[in-house]
């Protein structure tokens, strides 16, 4: 499994670099420097303290936000998922405020909490809080009554039930949420850092943009990506340590089966999501058009680059997530008993 993951990483990385190189050669513009040039600049940047202070500032912000959001959302999610009374009073409030785009509160956050770390941390927290909350609640709601009843029959107190049944039931979906919000929180971090303050990777990218230092932009993008992958993988690792039982259930499914599924999903999601992602890439092109002349050829190659990158990334994602997909948070609670039923009967 681990070898497979490493191989998946290596292949995807190679595919990404290749797509990047091809795009850079074809585009032949300073806006898209080649991978080797960027990696050289990245290696040089890694030797500077400025880079590390920016990297540390961003890491600190994003990790404190996730930690704060988890500390607030996980217990609340447990409560509203388990206790119907709390659910009745709190849930309407949550679902009323959930769809509000929280990013728009950046000016308010800055006015209230200043230009420092606090306003950024609180903005990210605000955005990801709801996602952890909803996932945790779903995890608890999926908990079958029979677990609670069988524990009650042993004389379990409410505390015993929450500790031994409710919290473990919520963990897998909570970890899935944490992995999903990793990307979200870094996006919000970038947004917050471009607007206010003079530190962080987001600031570094915007600053490089202002000076027309394109290679530096990619150094920043690379650093943010590494930060994201590191956090994502940490959550995956943590989940494997904490939720061992989900792997026990998953190991029963054949490797071949999950590979086939992964291939199928990759086919399906690649196309729809790539089409969905295209406007974002083209939007970047529009921004660039303010100080660059855009040719039709460039547009074409950018589309090729996006499709290539997405396909490679999707393939990579599928390989890495093959296992995770088989334990979707909503279904895992139900599928553990059901899955075991069929395995046993077989």
């Amino acid at each position: 499994m681990n070898k497979q993951r490493l191989l998946g990483y290596a292949l995807s990385l190679a595919a990404c670099l290749l797509a990047w190189k091809v795009a850079a050669v074809l585009l032949n513009s300073p806006v898209l420097p080649g991978p080797e040039e960027t990696l050289r600049a990245f290696a040089a940047a890694v030797g500077t303290s400025t880079f590390w202070s920016n990297f540390a500032a961003s890491t600190f912000r994003v990790l404190s936000s996730i930690a704060l959001a988890w500390l607030l959302a996980f217990p609340l999610g447990i409560m509203i998922g388990y206790d119907r009374k709390t659910d009745r009073y709190v849930s309407p409030l949550i679902f009323l405020t959930y769809p509000i785009p929280k990013m728009v509160f950046l000016p308010v956050m800055i006015l209230l909490f200043g230009l420092g770390d606090l306003s950024k941390i609180l903005l990210i927290t605000l955005v990801v809080f709801f996602q952890i909350l909803v996932a945790t609640k779903e995890g608890v709601s999926g908990l079958d009554r029979k677990y609670i009843d069988s524990m009650r029959s042993m004389g379990a107190s409410e505390g015993d039930i929450i500790r031994e049944a409710v919290i473990p039931a919520a963990l897998p979906s909570c970890f899935t949420a944490l992995r999903i919000i990793t990307g979200t929180s870094i996006s919000v971090l970038y947004f917050a850092e471009t607007f206010a303050g003079t530190s962080g990777l987001g600031y570094m990218i915007t600053n490089a943009w202002t000076w027309g230092n394109y290679t530096e932009i990619y150094v920043g993008i690379l650093a943010m990506s590494i930060l994201g992958i590191a956090i994502y993988e940490s959550f995956t690792y943590l989940e494997r340590r904490v939720c061992r039982w989900t792997r026990a259930a998953e190991d029963d499914q054949g490797e071949g089966g999950s590979w086939d599924k992964a291939v199928n999903y990759a086919h399906m999601i690649k196309i729809s999501h790539t089409v969905f992602a295209l406007p974002f890439g083209l939007a970047a092109l529009v921004i660039l058009s303010t100080d660059h002349i855009i040719t039709l050829e460039m547009v074409l190659w950018i589309i090729v680059a996006i499709v290539g990158a997405r396909s490679a990334a999707m393939g990579f994602n599928r390989i890495v997530d093959a296992g995770i997909d088989s334990r979707n948070p909503r279904t895992s609670g139900r599928h553990i008993p059901q899955g075991t039923l069929s395995v046993k009967q077989a």
């Binding site: 029959s153 107190s157 039923l341």
Partner: protein, 248 residues
């Protein structure tokens, strides 16, 4: 033997004043005896078992264990639910020790009892397995073990073997008879299988109607041996229970 272990007196359960599921049930089970309860789905069998276990309060009437009224879950009662209620995030060892941890049994004693029951139910080598990795029969043995490790005097079971194949089911029914004999357990089993009811029960209580009441109590004096399944008397009692069930 002989004294009343578990008694129900005029048990009635209403979920709302309009929905009365169980009406005026009275019966008793003597120490070391086995009662099986059979009746159509949704007639309130599980609700009855929950009341006997102290998990649900009756609207009126009471449940007595050795003459004391049941007001909540008791140490003397072990319960095995339909589909077992084993915690998927706990290993065999964790599931076996769960009840003892809840009841604050000292650690050394927990280990001793858990090892003993794992050996007794032939689950050795599975200590670190999660329930999802086990076969249905193994999971059911684990559920029995989890109840027995608490050393109850009464074992309540809600359709314990309904999801097992015939051979596994019969093997576990045999195991249950052995356990009952060795530990002198009083048992109440809810089932929808006539054969299971007749194989396991010294008496078979047929429930039915709305609200649910006792329709028949069929005595089964020859039950208890492993060979009973192929005994002519077994089939005779099965026919009698079937008539009672069909007559509802």
């Amino acid at each position: 033997m002989g004294e009343r272990m578990l008694t129900a007196e005029g048990l009635t359960k209403e979920f709302t004043p309009e929905i009365r599921v169980i009406e005026d049930l009275s019966f008793s089970v003597e120490s070391g005896r086995s009662l099986t309860i059979i009746g159509p789905s949704g007639c309130g069998k599980s609700t009855l078992l929950y009341m006997l276990a102290g998990l649900t309060r009756p609207t009126s009437g009471k449940v007595l264990i050795e003459g004391r009224e049941v007001k909540g879950p008791s140490r003397e009662v072990g319960m095995i639910l339909q589909d077992f209620g084993l915690l998927p995030w706990k290993t065999v060892w964790g599931n076996i020790c769960l009840g003892m941890r809840i009841r604050s049994v000292p650690k050394g004693e927990q280990d001793r009892r858990a090892r003993e029951i794992i050996k007794y139910l032939d689950l050795e080598g599975h200590e670190d397995d999660y329930p999802s990795r086990m076969s249905g029969g193994e999971r059911q043995r684990l559920a029995i073990g989890r109840a027995l490790v608490m050393e109850p005097s009464i074992l309540l079971m809600d359709e314990p073997f309904s999801s097992l194949d015939t051979l596994t089911r019969e093997r576990l029914q045999n195991t249950l008879l052995e356990v009952r004999e060795q530990k002198g357990l009083t048992m109440v089993t809810v089932t929808h299988s006539i054969e299971e009811a007749v194989f396991l029960g010294d008496e078979i209580m047929v429930l039915g109607g709305r609200p649910c009441g006792i329709r028949a109590i069929v005595p089964n004096p020859d039950a208890g041996g492993k060979g009973y399944r192929s005994d002519e008397r077994f089939f005779a009692v099965c026919r009698e229970v079937r008539r009672a069930v069909e007559g509802l």
